[in-house]
Amino acid sequence: MPELPKRKVGLVSCSGEEMAEGTVTRLATLKVLESLRPDATVTICLPLFLAGGEGDRAFARFYPTLAIDGCEKRCAARGTEIYSAKPASSIVVNELCPEAAGQLGTARRLNTAGVDAVNAVAAEIAGQVDRLLGVPWDRTRAEEGRASAATNEKPAATCSCGSGVPVRVLEIDGCEVEVLALPPILEMFRQAAKPPTDETAAEIFETVRLYNRVPGGAEASWKLALGRAYASYSAEGR
């Protein structure tokens, strides 16, 4: 059975360059990505929500996300919600380590208290990652809730300059549309030896819509495009 990308938690750090707390978010996030939960987490640079393509903006619709912010401005949490989808959870350094506020060193050089804060925030992130992966996740609503169709792993980079969200471009109603998760979905149907019929196209559509926002009234066009894409894809494998 082919595999859809594994459910991981997306970490979005504010990385604020102006304050020590921003450095704490960055280093704590890196510690989780590299050491504490490398197989369960991915990340994205916050500005990519604006500068990237649809695959980047869909990051938080694809992964349950955890926003890690340095201060009450909550740039990571707010930016993720505005440009992608509401984070599943969030951490603010100033709230997690209130006793250390203003005593963490500088943005460039953390002191001992700053390093302690990195470890505390990293531990909190790891705990929340475990919690998020222990509950069902509904990608279509970007909220904790009913179980999704997501299953096992496909390689996913830790950085979203290849966030691991596979995308394929289809022409739908004369427009080029990036369809998230389509490559593994097509492979899944092909390995299941599904024939390229209207019925299969409808099944593919139901899977695809878990990961994509389908505009109202465009269902038929999407099914048609997906049916064509699958017919072509399945023919390639013969």
């Binding site: 504010c14 990385s15 921003g22 990340t43 916050l46 990571a76 930016g79 440009y83």
Partner: protein, 136 residues
Amino acid sequence: MTRKTLIVPCSGIGKTYGTVAREGAHIVTEDLCPESTRLVPLALVVLGDKEVREALGASPAIAIDGCKLACAAKVVAESGGTVARALQVLDVYRRNRHLKPAGIAELNEAGHELAYILAEEVSDLADRVAAEEENA
């Protein structure tokens, strides 16, 4: 000097070059040109922070990006700022191939040296931008 040139590094968290961009920006704004430059966190630009938007509207910016996606330059431009100069860390590395940076949380020695060279280039550009501003 009435207006500080804004230095906007990418906040790249997934690549070494992002860390070099960040470190280089700190060197410029804290060590080399503290009086004439100001570090602007990209996250605040993304969020459309009022004070940052006003600063972008009033002063030229130098964007330092860690990868070809050029988030810093794009986001500054989309936020109404003027990207007076845009640098790619990779270009600086190509001119200094003996300094291969490594590490993201902590740069290696070559990475620190590359960040310093990057900072010197940014400082020169900041001087030129300031001169252009005065002559405009």
